[in-house]
Amino acid sequence: MTVLFDLVLCALMLLAALAAIGGRGLFRATVFFVAYGITVALAWVRLGAIDVALAEAAIGAGLTGLLLLGAVARLRRAGAPEFPVRAGLVPALAAAGVAGATGWVALRVPGAGGLWTEAGEALPLSGVENPVTAVLLNFRAWDTLLESIVLLAALLAVWALAREEEWEAPVGPPLHARPGGVLEGMARLLPPVGIVVGVFLVWAGASQPGGAFQGGTVLAAVGLIAALAGLVALPRPDSGSWRTALAAGPAVFLLVGASGLALGGLLLFPPDWAKAMILTVEVFLTLSIAATLALLVLGPPQPRRMP
């Protein structure tokens, strides 16, 4: 039964992927991609990795889809190349070769067993109950710290695309939400719910699936809807408060990590204080991630053409 479910799931994934890659029409391809993302999230659920499933759904399918859709809209007028450029045999063989070799090796070579045991043994000392969170924020906190910085770097790269004369303008495209419209109504309703969900995800992350990234994504989504509805004024890139919001999470993470030096080592969370420290980090990180993701989606300041 499960095998059948797996089969169907895998077939769906492949079909969605093929449609996303090879589908005619950009918009359709993007929609298929979102659908593909959801099937992948399902697959993660099937694999029992709820944290990843959440992240895939929120980030891999959701935010990425949002970005793609925005890009599709912006590219509507751009000259599009033929599709595909030329589907020769050689590239296909190359792709198949790499993928096939990977699959073959992955199946043929016995696994070493991963780090189940080690993670399990260390979990009590980590300050959290969710092993994934423990890995993310304690065992491999350095990765996560860098990761949060990666988002910031991406935002800087996006901002770098702004034209010099538009730097003082608010980020994102000009929005024309009708006051009192559906969007506004939704936007008034959603944020409180979204904030609650987001905060819960963070809080739960310590013991159950969820965490700063997933929570941050939800908050970002909420913020975006509010912004789209015109409820929140879009910030300028040089806005001090927004920059503080962007920097707060990584900064707190860095300071907490550095404080570990006083406690015996870099990025060290003594078991007794670990929970409090991690939670502090997570709260600020969520805030910053939300801000960063939202700004990433909004993009650089863009020309305000009066209609």
Partner: protein, 113 residues
């Protein structure tokens, strides 16, 4: 369960292959980014499938995959905004070297301006 592991591994590999093929042959930049994401998720899925035991996945790959997803998002965002700016400036959604009409000229002139 082994059967499912095989299934997921094969599927993940196939996703990687599909994405890779798309990346190689597509000229439209947005489709390239899309293909990149397909490869990425296939790869993550492979990671998960290989770390799959019983009711769950090895927590370390899970954490790594989450990190990977976020990093991929960051890269995607940068790429997409770049594509947008590029289209704004040139009116095209593909790079010059991938345009068929230019190819003849390219190979004879050799090198970009």
């Amino acid at each position: 369960m082994t059967g499912s592991v095989v299934l997921f591994v094969v599927t993940a590999s196939a996703l990687i292959g599909i994405g890779l093929w798309g990346f190689l042959v597509q000229a439209h930049l947005l489709r390239r980014v899309l293909a990149f994401n397909v490869v990425g998720s296939g790869l993550f899925l492979l990671f998960g499938a290989l770390g799959w035991r019983g009711g769950g996945v090895d927590p370390v790959p899970q954490a790594l995959v989450i990190t990977g997803i976020v990093v991929a998002l960051a890269a995607t965002a940068v790429a997409l905004w770049l594509v947008g700016r590029f289209a704004e400036e040139t009116g095209r959604a593909d790079l010059p070297e991938d345009r068929r009409e230019d190819r003849q000229e390219k190979s004879s002139a050799g090198g970009r301006p």
